[in-house]
């Protein structure tokens, strides 16, 4: 995944509800400063931020591999 908006779509799809997305997103903001519900356009493809968010998600058990599976299903 190469953009924050791609991560946002995939995570929302993987979690299945806006309420669950909000819980994980709040944890993400507190850990990384990145708000997936309000992505700054200039930061969307920032590779360092994308890596930071993916690392935080991985720590919470949402690995890039698992998210990719969800993304593939959505195609």
């Amino acid at each position: 995944m190469k953009s924050l908006s791609q991560i946002q779509r995939t995570l929302l799809s993987a979690l299945g509800s806006q309420a669950m997305f909000s819980l994980v997103n709040t944890r993400l903001i507190l850990r990384t400063g990145v708000d997936l519900a309000s992505i700054v356009p200039a930061q969307d493809a920032d590779a360092a931020l994308v890596t930071k968010v993916l690392t935080a998600l991985q720590a919470m058990g949402y690995s890039q591999q698992a998210l990719n599976v969800v993304a593939q299903r959505g195609k």
């Binding site: 709040t26 944890r27 507190l30 949402y62």
Partner: protein, 375 residues
């Protein structure tokens, strides 16, 4: 009196064994499955914890020291408040003590095994059916690590709570579980309520419209050095209309900084200006974060509105709950003589809480009333 399954208790006794006996008499009516207690640091919390467990062997008992204790009808700084959860409100529960001496993450993982034995895989639990309580030692600055570790194990489960206090002595705070204690860790309680529940966070601040990007910080010591590339003392003093020399705790308390998440403030309270020019906070702020200057609103009104809104969401009746109120808010209540009015928000419910050294919900926060409420 008909039991609602929740029962608050309070003892002003200074002797811990006497306080435990008084609380036992008050709480017995609900046949407790879980008890949370919040005690003055002058009490022997291990004695309280062990005695409550002895009186109610079926109950999981967690607790911590405080910067003041309260229920819906009583409050003080040298007593004990407590909440008992009976089978009417609680289907299942499990408690654990986190010992963080060898690392917060390892300690949380080890403690979580006790929760897993009762509930199975924590990641599989629905946030609509399960909720946790976390009481964190309040002086070692491990709240973020402990909350993150909980988030890694159970990202969808809310663990709500506060940091233990010692009534502003800043020497030692403790947490307790079934007679055990630690001054480096946390007490956990995971519950499956039998009634509707809700986490609510009230914060009497709103963004002023002034915001900056954190450009230099020392995360481990919760210190910010630069905002937008300029020294923080200069930027902050300019924003609040003073100079670096006039920055003191009263300025910090009235003008905290904060994140804005989902249009709501998540306060980061300044603690002290350091000799090296850094501004230390009561919780972490990371480089790259956008941080807003906040202005205070009406603490009591905001709290009552938040409790009323939560009551409506719970179906119109507030059975009661646990309330974690920041010490800085207590100091404001002290200064404005507003304690009586403040606690009226809990009138008619069974509520127990304490004044904290920080609140926990998905992370570590400051200057809120964060509550776990039951309908």
């Amino acid at each position: 009196m008909m039991s609602t399954g929740l029962k608050s208790g309070y003892s002003a006794a200074l002797d811990s064994a006497v306080a435990a006996a008084e609380l036992g008499e008050q709480l017995a009516v609900v046949q407790p499955r879980a008890i949370t207690f919040f005690c003055s640091h002058r009490h022997d919390g291990a004695v309280l914890s062990a005695s409550l467990r002895q009186q109610f062997p079926e109950a999981e008992v967690i607790g911590c020291t405080t910067a003041g204790e309260f229920t819906e009808s009583r409050n003080g700084v040298n007593g004990v408040s407590a909440m008992a959860f009976g089978p009417q409100v609680l289907k299942r529960c499990a408690g654990a003590l986190v010992r963080a001496g060898e690392g917060a993450e390892a300690g949380v993982k080890r403690a979580a095994q006790s929760l897993t034995r009762v509930f199975g895989d924590l990641r599989a639990l629905s946030p609509d059916r399960f909720v946790g309580v976390v009481l964190v030692e309040g002086l070692r600055m491990k709240e973020e690590e402990i909350n993150e570790a909980l988030g890694n194990l159970a990202p969808l489960i809310s663990f709500v709570g506060g940091s233990a206090g010692d009534n502003l002595e800043f020497k030692r705070t403790c947490v307790f579980y079934n007679g055990e204690q630690t001054d480096d860790g946390a007490a956990l309680l995971l519950i499956e309520p039998a009634v509707p529940f809700k986490v609510t966070k009230s914060c009497s601040f709103r963004p002023t419209g002034k915001s900056w990007k954190v450009t230099r910080a020392d995360v481990a010591t919760r210190t910010i050095y630069e905002l937008d590339g300029r020294p923080i003392a200069e930027v902050y003093a300019e924003a609040v209309g003073g100079t670096a020399q006039t920055l003191d705790s009263s300025v910090f308390m009235a003008n905290p900084l904060g994140l804005v998440i989902d249009h709501k403030p998540w306060i980061r309270s300044p603690q002290q200006l350091l000799a090296d020019g850094g501004l230390r906070f009561y919780c972490q702020v990371l480089p790259g974060m956008e941080i807003h200057l906040m202005q205070s609103t009406d603490l009591v009104k905001e709290t009552h509105q938040a409790l009323a809104a939560a009551t409506t969401e719970l179906g119109g009746t507030l059975r009661g709950g646990l309330a974690f109120n920041c010490i800085l808010r207590r100091l404001e209540l002290d200064a404005k003589d507003l304690h009586g009015t403040f606690y009226q928000g809990f009138r008619g419910s069974q509520t127990a809480g304490f004044h904290t050294y920080g609140e926990s919900w998905l992370g570590h926060i400051n200057q809120t009333l964060t509550a776990l409420l039951f309908g």
